[in-house]
Structure formats: structure tokens, C-alpha cells
Amino acid sequence: MMENTAERPFTLASFQAYMNEGRLMGSRNRATGEVFAPPRPIDPATHSDDMEWVELSGRGTLAAFTSVYIGTSAMIDAGYDRKKPYVAGVVELEEGPRISAQILGLDAARPDMAWIGRPLRATFVERGEGEKRRAYLAFETM
């Protein structure tokens, strides 16, 4: 894990800004070393707010998934529909936490239980127009 000492607040905007830079960041309790992704400002176990940003490797394995035929409006705008389903999943990161993301490189029309446990790596998909354009976290097969 690469250390990052930038003093950005532990907000969604910071997490998003990092993603726009192509970096998947978590937060880490300085005292216990526990890593959180998405980045929590407060450790729920110790209630400490002595956190630091930490860059995550982006490597993980698929823990759960679904093929979505009737998606959210945002995914419909991104071109997905009943004829072009997508895979959404939960990825267990190498550092421990689990995070939700679109999964690329799998055929949503042919779901397979054997996908669970499959190694994945983080990537970022840019969507939206103009000021709304931003990076979305996704994982792809390796």
C-alpha cells in the first residue's frame, strides 16, 4: 500500500476526487491499522477519528454478484437495458474491506456461480456529460 499524506477531509467529495485521479482510496485508523473502504471518518469499533488516507491496491476477489436487466436510471443512461444487462458485485479487497462496484469482463447474460472468488482489479469508468462527468469505480477480470 502506498502511503498518502494529503490532508483531504474524509468526505465523499474527497473519495470522488481521488477516483477522478484514478486512485482507489480508503481510510485507516492510525492506532489500530484497520482499513475502511469506503473511507470512514470514524472507526465504528473504537470511535476514533484519528484516520489517515491510504491508497488501496485495487486487487480483490468477487464475493457476490447479480446480473441486472432493469437497472437504475444512471445505468440506463449509460446504455444498459434488458437486451444489454450488466453485472453489479461486491468485491472483497486484498486489504480486507468489501466494496460495491460494477464488474466488467463477465457476460451478464450467462451468470455463473463459479464467478465467486474470481480475482479482480479496480478500474475507473468515466460517465456523464460536462460538469457531471466523473469516474465510477468498477472492477475487471484479470
Binding site: 465523499l12 469506503p38 465504528p44 464475493a63 457476490a64 454478484f65 447479480t66 446480473s67 441486472v68 432493469i70 437497472g71 437504475t72 436510471s73 444512471a74 445505468m75 440506463i76 444498459y80 450488466y86 453489479a88 458485485g89 461486491v90 472483497e92 468489501r98 466494496i99 460495491s100 462496484a101 460494477q102 451468470p111 455463473d112 456461480m113 465467486i116 472468488g117 465510477y136 469505480l137
Partner: protein, 419 residues
């Protein structure tokens, strides 16, 4: 374990017809439920005795463009001005509204309160409903991944199946059972057995010369074709039901199943609800079950009972996997064995632990903020022997309701004792 300062009794319950009613608003449906409730009270209810109102409502704001719904409902049934509070905990709104009503009575502030749940979800197109429901997920970290609510629970199903070796047939079993029950519930939205729905689909496929779906008529499960994973078959049935749901509509020739008005014992809620607010959703949450079980454990401790004592339960089967997980979280079956219990029929009306005799959310319908309140109607009827054709064949002196919000961030469990 702390207990309530005094006991709280359910003295009447009622509900509107569940279904899709383009010509009605939540107000109209609430009036139906209110009148049904009034008629259920053994020696009659003077509405003037009602001192406060608690209404579970997830999102009339998004579904109907109407906020501030509690005082509006109270006013429409003639109960203004009284304290009227809307309770929102996603799909657990109704169950948590009950909890707030119980706490208010137990506190001594009120003796009689009205608890309800409302939701009208059929005004919006499917994409609007998908987006409105998605706001009960984490719109910062989960929804951008493309998750929808069916998607969350489908992901839970894959994680559960992978971890415990469950087959999709187990999920299908839950759907078959709940529709068998719902067919006997005149208030249910989908009063049809899955076999009947599939028979219709097969007939249509044959008529059009299309491939016939993999399903056998009757109660039997579809044979698993060589090389075809079971989850495909279940997925076909799920899609079929989704279509049925969109068509919606009120089945013809229904009547209310109002219980007879003779004197019946009141149900006393025993010492209290358990509720926990959990950490943000983990769709792959099979390994987070210990936290989800907290609400059940608290409720059992407050009531001084165990899972084995519970005769029937209405559990939150917003999707079939949710019922399997719920029956484990409630301690009815050991973790990882709920799917076997479902396949063995242990949760059928005739089984040792009947679950969702009303048809559950699956067949009765799931107007999200109303579901937790409607669960109470079923246990009330079953405990009083007034559930008609779907009445279980044993004395129900202890019952339970289990209502989940979101993907498990809220879980509220109530235990009911007949005295």
C-alpha cells in the same frame, strides 16, 4: 435486559386490499384499512379514544409527490388534531411505527394509539420505482455500482448459495409456499399459485410456438435439465412474477376476511420490541448474520421466550432469499440450514414452523412502508383463529413479526402473546 414499563396490547387490526389501484391514493387505502381495523375491535372502538398516530411510510414524497403524510392520514380518518408522526426506516417503516406506538403506550403518555403503514408505488414507471427504492440503499457507495434492490438481494443469494451450497430450488420453494398461502388470503395482491402462473405461461408459449419454459405442472419442482444450472430455472420464474406484478390489478370477486365480532382475547405484546440499526449494507452479508440477529435476540430476551416457543412468524420476504436468511437470523434454523428447511417444507402451513401464512410480502404484496403493519394483521388473525382457509391447525399462543429495512440496516422484531 430492560423491559417496558407496562404491557401493551393489540386490540384490533385491519388492512386495505393490497394491489395496484390507479384510481386510489394512499389516503383512500388508509381509510379502507382504518375501517377494517375499527370493525375488528371486539367491543367496538370509539375513535375519540385514540390519542396519537404513528404512520410508517417510506417515500410518498417520491412515489406520489406527497410529504408530511402522517397528519394528512390522521385528518382524513377524522383524527386531527392529534400528535401524528411519520416513521421512515425504508421497508421497515411499518414495523418501526409499531415500535414507536408501543413505546408511547409503555411510557404511560398514552393509553390508546393508532399505528399504520402506507405506500402507493404504482404511479411511477418501473424506472422511477427502481430509483425511488434505490434511495433506501447507499446512494454514495452502492447505487453507483449499479445495484438495485432486486440486485442487492440477488447478490445476497449468490453469496449464500456459494457459501452454503444452497440450490436455486430452495428459493423457488419459498416462492411456491408463499403463493400457496397467498392464494388463500383475500387481501393478497397476487392470489395465484406459481404452478398456475407457470401453466399460463406455458400455454402462451405453446400458442405462439415459442420454447416452452422448463416447468412441470403441479406442485413438483421443475426437473433440472442436464447442463442447465438450477438458478436459470428460478430466474425464469422470478421474471414471470415480475411481469405478473407489473400487470397488477385487483383479482375479481374478493371479499374482506373480517373476523367475527364475538369476544376474543386481546393480544398482548410481551415486553417489547427489539430493534437494531446496523452498519451500512453488506450485500454479501451472510457472514454479517451475527449483527442482524441482534433484533431477534433482544426481542426474545425482553419477552422471556425462545425461538422454539414461537408458533408462527411473519418474516420479511421481500425476496425469497430474505426469508431463508430471516429464518436463520430468528433462530428457527441453524445458520446455513434455512435453505434445507425451506426445501423440506418445514415452514409451510402444515410444517413445524409456519412462516408467512399470509402469503408474505412475496404473494400478499409489498407496499414497502405498509408491509410491517400488515404483518401484524396476519398474526392477529392466526392467534385468534380468524385466518379462514389459511388458518394453521394448532393453537397459536405466541407469534412473531420480523420487518427489515434496506438490506438489513434496520431490523425490527416483535413477539406477541395471546392472553
Amino acid at each position: 435486559m430492560r423491559k417496558l414499563n407496562r404491557g401493551v396490547a393489540v386490540v384490533g387490526t385491519g388492512m386495505s386490499q393490497f394491489g395496484s389501484f390507479p384510481e386510489k391514493t394512499t389516503r383512500d387505502l388508509f381509510v379502507e384499512a382504518f375501517q377494517d381495523m375499527r370493525a375488528s375491535v371486539d367491543r367496538g372502538l370509539d375513535p375519540n379514544d385514540i390519542e396519537a398516530i404513528y404512520i410508517g411510510n417510506y417515500s410518498s414524497d417520491l412515489f406520489e409527490g406527497q410529504g408530511h403524510t402522517a397528519p394528512i392520514m390522521a385528518d382524513w380518518v377524522g383524527l386531527a388534531p392529534r400528535p401524528a408522526t411519520r416513521v421512515e426506516d425504508a421497508c421497515a417503516s411499518g414495523g418501526v411505527a409499531l415500535r414507536q406506538g408501543i413505546l408511547a403506550v409503555a411510557s404511560g403518555l398514552y393509553d390508546v394509539v393508532l399505528v399504520g403503514g402506507i405506500e402507493k408505488m404504482s404511479n411511477l414507471p418501473i424506472s422511477g420505482v427502481t430509483d425511488a427504492l434505490a434511495t433506501a440503499g447507499d446512494v454514495s457507495f452502492e447505487i453507483p455500482a449499479g445495484f438495485t434492490f432486486p440486485g442487492f438481494y440477488a447478490a445476497m443469494a449468490t453469496a449464500y448459495m456459494h457459501r452454503y451450497g444452497a440450490s436455486a430450488d430452495a428459493l423457488l420453494r419459498v416462492g411456491i409456499k408463499n403463493h400457496d398461502n397467498g392464494k388463500l388470503n383475500p387481501k393478497a395482491q397476487f392470489q395465484a399459485r406459481i404452478a398456475d402462473l407457470m401453466a399460463g405461461r406455458i400455454a402462451r408459449a405453446q400458442q405462439k410456438g415459442l420454447p416452452v419454459p422448463g416447468w412441470q405442472n403441479g406442485d413438483g419442482l421443475p426437473p433440472r435439465r442436464r447442463g442447465q444450472p438450477a438458478h436459470r430455472l428460478a430466474a425464469a420464474a422470478v421474471r414471470l412474477l415480475a411481469r405478473h406484478r407489473r400487470r397488477g390489478g385487483r383479482p375479481a370477486g374478493q371479499r374482506g376476511d373480517r373476523p367475527p365480532l364475538q369476544r376474543r382475547p386481546a393480544l398482548r405484546r410481551r415486553h417489547g420490541p427489539g430493534q437494531r440499526h446496523l452498519r451500512p449494507a453488506r450485500p454479501a452479508g451472510a457472514d454479517r448474520a451475527a449483527r442482524r440477529r441482534g433484533a431477534a435476540r433482544q426481542a426474545y430476551e425482553m419477552a422471556g421466550v425462545t425461538a422454539a416457543d414461537i408458533k408462527i412468524a411473519e418474516v420479511h420476504d421481500c425476496f425469497t432469499i430474505a426469508e431463508i436468511i430471516a429464518t436463520e437470523d430468528l433462530g428457527f434454523f441453524a445458520p446455513g440450514t434455512g435453505h434445507e428447511a425451506a426445501e423440506e417444507g418445514l415452514t409451510s402451513r402444515q410444517g413445524p414452523k409456519p412462516v408467512n401464512t399470509s402469503g408474505g410480502l412475496k404473494s400478499k404484496g409489498h407496499p414497502v412502508g405498509a408491509s410491517g403493519a400488515a404483518q401484524v394483521v396476519e398474526v392477529w388473525k392466526q392467534m385468534r383463529g380468524a385466518a379462514g382457509e389459511r388458518q394453521v391447525d394448532r393453537d397459536v399462543d405466541l407469534a412473531l413479526t420480523h420487518n427489515v429495512g434496506g438490506t438489513g440496516q434496520t431490523c425490527v422484531v416483535h413477539v406477541y402473546e395471546r392472553r
